[in-house]
Structures are given as structure tokens and as C-alpha cells.
Symmetry: C2
Subunit: 220 residues, 2 copies
DNA sequence: CGAAAAACTGTACCGGTGGTAGGGTAATGT
DNA sequence: ACATTACCCTACCACCGGTACAGTTTTTCG
């Protein structure tokens, strides 16, 4: 772990060492490329070209392409965690009821992905799923940890909801927690396949309808 | 279109020409490899090796890797259509009510994917989504057609349900139809990421719960 | 300021892969 | 039997990931 995290004066770009900035530039360029055409189709040559460094410079930062993949995934997961934290924390600020908090969070998330101009760029976790054998065991484990993190996150929220609202259908809470990630991942695939960014947002809102139906009493 | 479809005596392997059989063998081998490690990571060399032909033999059947991808996708979509037809036709045989038919179909589909030993092998449509730029426009369009086909299929079923059952929440039927594919695609990603085949089946059953809640009156 | 460490550059090379070119041959269908 | 189909063989090319290693600039810090 030679990453500089706590540095006096904050973590701004200017405060980071030059190497750290270059490394970050490589990762940024790579992420764009990978989400557009997959990891296998993204060559080191084109990365170094766009980053305006040489091949040697690249291999100074990353031992091989596998290490690049790992760093990219770690970065992606971290950014993702921060985003999810923000959205669902905001839900907590806007309502006291746990069900309302969750519904607000889901809606905000849907609006967030709808506002992205080119649609959601895609999920590296899913992208890596479809290229398994290209990577080593460590990357597979990282991916798994990310998915389990999602489950845990939504499980905590759902547990609080279940305390107050008995579900109208028997459901396993872990499975329901997984459904959030399922709809996001599936929605991204569908959005990409049809070239319709709003589709992901629609699907998120449908999931919201499900949660509502599941936990609120219906007029008979 | 030089494919032999209608041939006297049926479409058995033995009735097909030798070339057709080799072509099929290449596609079968390729499909296994692609679903395991992605298209980019599957080399022509290894395909010809396992198919026990030479590189020249391969290029006799397919002009380039792109044509292989296209043929593979077409084959995959066709097989998929047949499977979905079977499952939801069986639902129609077992019940008269359109809602019951759909619920039976969903459950049968869930059981079907659960019984697969290694779990669902993955969906080529999704796999191609994450490798867009590797392929040409025609493949992109094919993929899109497949997804629209799913939407149409489930829309027809859902329209009949809506005729009899007013939904408990306002939903767009096309979006709801898309949700079937969304949960399948997302469920596959989740299953692959966690290495838990049953997860896809669970998610399908959750979707079934949603449909049930949406179209049946709840005791207030 | 100056030395050490960090962050690169340049060149040359290797094996594997997608793909091309073209000539030769065995199997197959009618 | 004969043409077509379905291959095989060899040689070649460009690109890509990766290695090796020596040399140079840039930054950091005492």
C-alpha cells in the first residue's frame, strides 16, 4: 500500500505528487476506454498515447495490465460507495420514516442516472464479470466483495423498514437487498443495448413501485 | 443466406452437410469459451485447436472474427427464443387465467435456470454490450432487435393481464415488460459475480412477487 | 544549494494473435 | 466421373502485451 492518502494540506490535485497525478490520469483514461469497448479491446499503446507518456512510463506505474485492472476496479468501487452514501444519506435527511427514506433514495438515484448526458457509463463490476478469465483471483474476489457490500448496505436499510412494515409477500431480505443491484446492473445492460439512457431510470422507478407495494397496505 | 433450413428428412446432424456440422462445432466451442472469458480473450487459435481443424479451415467458414461474433449472436438469440416460447407456452397449457399463466411461466423459468449445473452460462447480449466497439454496427443492431423482441413478447402477455386486472400502482407496460429482461440480465451478472447460480432464480421469484402484488388485490 | 530518490524516456527485443495470400488436396454430392 | 465443397499447408504481416535495461529529467527534502 504505497498510496498517499493522508497528506498535510488536503488531497487536492496540486497537493498530490506528480507520479500520483499521472497514475490518476492513466486510470481516468483507461476507465473511459474500458466502459466503452471492454478491457480486452483497450490497448496499453492507446492509453499511453492519450496520457502523453511512453510505454516505459506506463510500466513504471503498473507492473502489467492485470495490476491496471485491479487499480481501476478499486477506484471504481470507492467512487461508487461515495455516490451511494451521498444519495441514501440525503434520503435520511429528508424524512424520518425508514421506508420513506429508502423511497426517496431510490428516486434520487433514478434522477441522478437519468441526468447523465450519455447515460450511465456502465459498471466495471459487470464488465469484469463478462471477462473473468482475463484476470487473476484477486480481482474476482474484489468484485465479489463489492457486490456483498451492496447487499449489506441495502440490507441495513431494509431491516429497519421491516421492523415497522410487515411485507405483503414473504420475501428474504438479503434477496430483496440484492434486487437493488440486480435492477441497476440489468438496467445498465438494457440501456446500453437499446441506446436509451432513461431505461435504467425507469427500471429503478419500477423497483421503487415494488418496494412501495411490498411494504404499504393496499386499499382492498 | 446459404443456410440449409428445410431439408427433406429433418434437420438432424447426420442430414446436414459436413461443412454445416463443422461450422456448428466451431460455434458451440466458441460459445462456451466466450461465455467463460469474453470474446476478446477467446483466440481463433484455441478454437481451431479444439475443433481439430486448421486456421485456414476456420477462415473458410468465417471471413473474420466479426462474422464469427455475428453468427454466434444469431444462434444464441434463436436458441433463446425457442426456450422462452417453450416455457411460456407451457404456462398457457396449465392455466386459463393470463395472470396465472405468466406467474407459472416465471416460476418455470426460475426453476429452469436453477437446475443448470454451473448456473446460467451468461447472456451473449449482455456480454456484447460490454464490448461494443469490438463489433460492427450490424451486431449492435442485432442485439437491439433481440432486446426489443423480449419487450414485445412480454408486452403481449402483460396486455392480456391488464385487461382483467387493474394494476395497484401506475406502471407503463413496456417498462414492466423490460423489467423481465432487466432482472434476468442483472441476475446473471449478480450470479456470476458471487458465483452463486441460485441467485438468478431468487431474483426471478422476486420479480414474480412483484407481478403478483401489482395485479392482485391485497387484504386491507 | 545539492544529493538522492522519483518519474520518467528510448531502444531493442520476444511471443502470441488476428488476418492475408495463394497453391494444393481429400472428401462429398449428384 | 466430375465439379464443388471443405478443407490443409506454408509463409507472411502488423499489432499488442510484456521484458530488459541503460540513460535522463524532475521533484523532493535536508
Amino acid at each position: 500500500m504505497n498510496q498517499i492518502i493522508d497528506r498535510p494540506g488536503g488531497n487536492t490535485d496540486a497537493a498530490k505528487g506528480k507520479g500520483e497525478r499521472t497514475r490518476e490520469r492513466i486510470l481516468e483514461i483507461t476507465e473511459q476506454a474500458v466502459l466503452q469497448k471492454g478491457f480486452g479491446a483497450t490497448s496499453i499503446e492507446e492509453i499511453v498515447c492519450e496520457a502523453e507518456i511512453t510505454k516505459s512510463g506506463f510500466f513504471y506505474h503498473f507492473r502489467d495490465k492485470n495490476e491496471l485492472a485491479r487499480a481501476l476496479l478499486i477506484r471504481h468501487i470507492e467512487k461508487d460507495e461515495i455516490l451511494l452514501d451521498q444519495v441514501f444519506e440525503r434520503g435520511k435527511e429528508l424524512a424520518d420514516d425508514p421506508l420513506q427514506q429508502f423511497l426517496i433514495g431510490l428516486k434520487m438515484f433514478a434522477e441522478l442516472v437519468e441526468d447523465l448526458p450519455q447515460g450511465h457509463p456502465g459498471c466495471l463490476v459487470a464488465a469484469y464479470c463478462y471477462q473473468e478469465r482475463l484476470f487473476d483471483r484477486e480481482i474476482y474476489d474484489l468484485n465479489q466483495q463489492a457486490v456483498l457490500g451492496w447487499r449489506k448496505r441495502f440490507r441495513v436499510i431494509l431491516d429497519k423498514i421491516v421492523e415497522q412494515y410487515p411485507p405483503n409477500e414473504p420475501v428474504d431480505i438479503d434477496e430483496l437487498a440484492d434486487m437493488v443491484a440486480t435492477v441497476i446492473e440489468g438496467g445498465i445492460v438494457m440501456s446500453k443495448a437499446l441506446g436509451r439512457p432513461y431505461l435504467l431510470a425507469n427500471q429503478m422507478m419500477l423497483l421503487r413501485s415494488f418496494v412501495k407495494l411490498l411494504f404499504t397496505k393496499q386499499a382492498g
